[in-house]
Symmetry: C2
Subunit: 687 residues, 2 copies
């Protein structure tokens, strides 16, 4: 564990306009001027339109892009992994063995994969803000805001037939309505063996140099035919050159660069310690389960990767926030900005109290944050079936209300996507459910104490293991038909159900909703108002040249393909196939450093560039993002950051921080020489 | 994760005299009557004397026994593992490859292994209690108790030349002085490959059926010659029969069966959640380090096993305490006993307040327990070098004081053992030290918050990783000569040293000592007094037929060799060599289920009994315990409990709970057929 962060040369932006290549830019406010000035590149409307309509959001938390006119989509193997697991069984292990459809008929339909493609963005800031009359209490304001957003989404969906989401930008500075085409018939075309897709496994995660073929291909179908798409990214047979300008389109999940000092401190002292404690118990739980044998390994594999990845990412965040240099720079910047605000009477009147309100909201949050996570986020009942049970209970209670008054996730505009997940035929493993529930019930007790009222209620007089066994034995929610039956039965069916998990979810409703209400009214709403004020002050004083924090919506980033130095050693901008073979040899062909048979038997050019790095600004959620050249050709598929990039949640730096991509040539060479997939390679090249 | 505990049939003893085969008995108060009544066995003085003088305590936390007249000692491989690691290097991996000395000259001297052999026990309860005048404050009483104990130990050491420890029994009910012969020239004779010593690894730990050759042999030397011993356990070539009475001698570490309800609740809601959180971060840290490559695997292996084992043991404890059935039984028993006390005026006057005092002490402890662990136990600075640095700083401060006034571990009677560890030439890996320190500093911050004064002082304005790198780069304590130089330099040398770790340890002294003082005066002393009162009441009302809780001192347990049922499946009392081969085959020869080359090439009788179980009462610390038959022959080497036995910290049960041993025949057969170690086998058989 070497230093995560070298602050020398860090670029800290709370108040100064952007320099370097920072920014996850909105597609309707692209950095045209910056690109012109810094890189002499003219970003035209056609380029932007393709970037928007050829980029794909994987609703399970990743990015991708269309790469042929026939609806072919590329993403990361690790974004496909959940689907690969769901398509696997004891006799067919797609994660381990990979998959190639040799004809369209062989393409495998995915049980619950939803892809979204952005079509349009509309600024609705004014509509949202006008709905919040002055002098409302926080509770009233929260309700009014929820209502106007639900109304805007519903109207848009009804009018356009498109999935419509109102997105909060600058944590309350702007509200934009995003309209997406939504695809749910998605089929698996190709995935390599997990061995090479995540060569180096957890050891190499967030590290560079890297040797991973972290790609997978799907095809979108419409009415049982491959979707014809107008906009897609042509595959580059050359890939990027050193020093070249590249672009990344994708859906970065969350950043906290505009968080106030009080928010960062809260994150450091409350949110992250809890999060790390939780991730550690989960990782230990899955590791121990997976070690029991190959079946358990297959069942737990997806969760294990997800948790291990989160553990590294959040550890990196925590290390960053523990570095006094980072926080003291943030403090300086915040103080300087507040001084500017104070110097302007009008701004000071509108914004002066914002920082205090945010600090007060977080002080309040500290008192119930764990309870909020354990009950309302469901951390204390972690299991797939509990999530289903809760949705069924809530759907029945929410649907009779007008859409605008429901909990956000049950608004009309969201129902289709929710039901698609809820009624997914993907297998759920009883053994894993028992494990997860027992672990979560223990964690609940660890966090709240054995005599806590919620803990006693959850355990119902039993030990966690016995209670989990009882809950899983007494539920029929494994069966999709039973879920549909309950959903159709409405409130009456849910109120009288004796299904163990429905009973549990029902028993938690009052307390869970109460703590959610507290969260929304005491934290979310006042913070949103205060952040909105700060954003307005920033626009007034500094203009709009700072991109908003990430929100898992489409963004455009750009950067330069280049290597970097660590401890005086220069790391090249690209690795080669040969490096994987060499490392496997040097580390004794031990997991996770083994090369699959296909790579040992096939004859490829071992000098083929494999992975490469650039300075573009990415974060979790960008996994699977197309990396494009000036011509809009796909030169790579982003799959990771290095560890120096972990701090990018809080600050952009390009001294050593890089995102890491699979080189477009590596994919072509591997498809041809290792997987005998000439057809797929030809489709990529438009042949 | 199935149920840990089936309470039906549990035997809960807070107030009733012992039945079944419960008890870790004192060698000077052996259960003669019980053995006579229940098993028709006459425990005579000669049997006891051999059990005492042939049993060996491994000071690193295990048990063993002499098994030849030439000072040969058997213990577990996992008790030897630390030593095997210290004797290993990049070119000689004793953990992986095992070891056999083919002649005495080849036996390998261990760098810092100390063995103790108990010679005599003296009851000093009256001396200790008389030194505590009535009406002392808790602080005065704690000091007086520390002083009298140090004096008794010192006088005993000076008079007998033996290592002398005063042991607190019944948590304050009795004080016994234990006198040991101490051996520090200990040499490695034999260890199998870790693969077969811990076949099934963490998956199988605390599970049965089991297939592990968890044994190792050492030889004690005296003046460079094998020690001639009068008392040793003859090795049985037959092993135990089903239904046979067996005995276990050894050093069980800690049980909590006599804890009051308040203590158990405190353990459940404070001590264990903290402990589990800590073990999880440590395990994740070592797992990730070990995955980097074979060298890292070797360096971290010992710590990894230790931590994984503790994680399972403490998780089992926690699950037990979360089971409402256990605590409600404890509550009933405590209430019934308190009623009896209340009915007796004299006892009520002496003891009536004891439970309240204990509860109050633990309420106070809850406020500073983490700080105590982080600062004084050193959890926040976890590293081998920090331990050394602190000892050097404290030795310099303590030595000028009279022995009776020093911190307990620096009393004259303990100095030799301490220095033996402190000046050990065992290698310390800088990479591992950096890892551990960075992890511990992060954990310190997670527990106390980033702005906490101790955290800020510890980090000294740097991130945990950078601070750890700085601390390790700036210390010379890797060098034994430097440690000696500092120790010899006394207070002046330590006060002026600029060694980074000495400076750190020095800076923590005031706060660490303060929190220790609080612990000793606000918790340890009042609890000891109150537990002493409760013990006296128990003696008065129920006699002395309940053995004291475990204290890592020599105890005698007994039980019956027999299998048990799980979910209606009968598990046999013994496994066979064949079972290991079959499981390896069935689980695809994946780690941790692989059989070493020696076992694949050698030809042994695959029907040889391998591991067996009995109902005797054991706990952690019993690892390596000799298992004896009526004749005092060694029929097995205890190495584990099953998961049903994890709850034995709090209650004895023999429905399913068992301890697990290597069968004496398995050792003989393996030595001959797999390791070509006929000489060693012959020595065991006295040939």
């Amino acid at each position: 564990m070497r230093a995560f962060l070298i602050l020398t040369g860090l670029v800290l932006f709370l108040e100064v306009p952007v320099s370097a290549d920072e920014g996850m830019w909105l597609l309707n406010a692209p950095p045209r001027q910056l690109l012109q000035q810094r890189h002499g590149f003219t970003l035209d409307d056609a380029w932007i339109e393709r970037a928007m309509k050829a980029s794909v959001r994987f609703n399970n938390g990743g990015s991708g892009g269309f790469v042929s006119a026939d609806g072919l989509v590329v993403t990361n193997h690790h974004i496909a992994a959940g689907t690969l697991s769901k398509l696997s069984s004891r006799d067919r292990n797609l994660l381990r063995d990979g998959f190639l459809a040799r004809s369209r008929r062989q393409e495998l339909r995915c049980p619950d994969l939803e892809l979204n493609v952005l079509q349009e963005i509309v600024d609705v800031t004014r509509e949202v803000n006008q709905a919040i009359a002055p002098n409302l209490t926080d509770a009233q304001a929260a309700a009014a805001r929820r209502a106007v957003i639900a109304r805007l989404e519903k109207e848009s969906t009804e009018r356009t037939g498109l999935r419509s989401d109102v997105v909060t930008l600058y944590q309350g500075g702007l509200y934009h309505l995003y309209r997406y085409k939504k695809y749910t018939d998605v089929r698996l075309v190709f995935a390599p063996e997990e061995q090479i897709a995540s060569f180096g496994g957890d050891v190499d995660n967030f590290e560079y140099p890297r040797q991973s073929l972290d790609v997978a291909f799907f095809r979108v179908y419409d009415k049982d035919k491959p979707l014809r798409v107008e906009h897609y990214f042509p595959w580059s047979s050359q890939g990027p050159a050193e020093g070249e300008l590249v672009f990344v389109t994708g859906h970065p999940g969350t950043t906290n660069r505009q968080d106030t000092l009080a928010m960062l401190r809260h994150r450091r002292d409350h949110t992250l310690p809890y999060t790390l404690a939780r991730l550690r118990y989960l990782e230990a739980q899955y590791l121990q389960f997976a070690a029991r044998g190959p079946d358990e390994q297959r069942m737990a594999s997806r969760e294990l990767h997800r948790v291990a990845n989160a553990r590294k990412a959040f550890s990196g965040q925590y290390q960053g926030l523990l570095d006094p240099a980072l926080l003291s720079e943030k403090e300086k910047a915040e103080n300087a900005f507040r001084k500017k605000v104070a110097a302007n009477q009008d701004l000071q009147r509108k914004t002066g109290e914002a920082w205090k309100r945010i600090a007060a909201a977080h002080q309040s949050l500290a008192g119930f944050e764990r309870l909020y996570y354990l009950l309302e986020r469901g951390d204390g009942f972690d299991s797939e079936l509990f999530v289903i049970a809760r949705h069924l209970v809530r759907l029945a209670a929410e649907l009779p209300r007008p859409s605008a008054e429901r909990l956000r996730e049950y608004g009309d505009a969201r129902l289709d996507s929710l039901k698609f997940q809820l009624f997914s035929p993907a297998p759920i493993h009883a053994e894993l459910e028992r494990l997860r529930l027992a672990g979560a019930l223990s964690f609940l007790a660890e966090q709240l104490g054995g005599d806590n009222v919620h803990v006693r209620a959850a355990l119902a007089g039993k030990s966690p293991a016995n209670r989990a066994a009882e809950l899983v034995a007494g539920t029929k929610l494994f069966d999709v038909a039973e879920r549909k039956r309950l959903a159709e039965g409405g409130q009456k069916a849910l109120e009288t159900s004796e299904d163990t998990l429905i009973v549990l979810a029902r028993s938690l409703e009052a307390e869970s909703r109460a703590v959610r209400k507290r969260y929304e009214e005491e934290v979310e709403e006042p913070v949103r108002q205060a952040m909105g004020q700060i954003a307005q002050a920033r626009f007034a004083l500094l203009g709009t040249d700072v991109a908003p924090d990430a929100t898992f919506t489409l963004r455009l980033a750009f950067g330069i393909v280049k290597g970097y130095e660590v401890d005086g050693v220069a790391l090249p901008y690209t690795t080669r196939f040969a490096d994987a073979y060499e490392r496997a040899e040097r580390l004794g062909h031990r997991e996770p450093f083994t090369v699959p048979k296909s790579w040992l038997q096939g004859k490829a050019d071992r000098q083929t560039p494999f992975n490469f790095v650039s300075t573009a600004d990415t974060i979790g959620g960008n996994s699977g993002s197309p990396v494009l050249n000036r011509a809009g050709q796909l030169v790579g598929v982003n799959f990771d950051r290095n560890r120096h990039g972990l701090v990018r949640n809080f600050v952009y730096t390009d001294v050593q921080a890089r995102h890491i991509s699979v080189h477009s040539r590596a994919v072509l060479e591997a498809l041809r020489k290792f997987y005998n997939a000439e057809g797929l390679a030809n489709e990529l090249l438009g042949k």
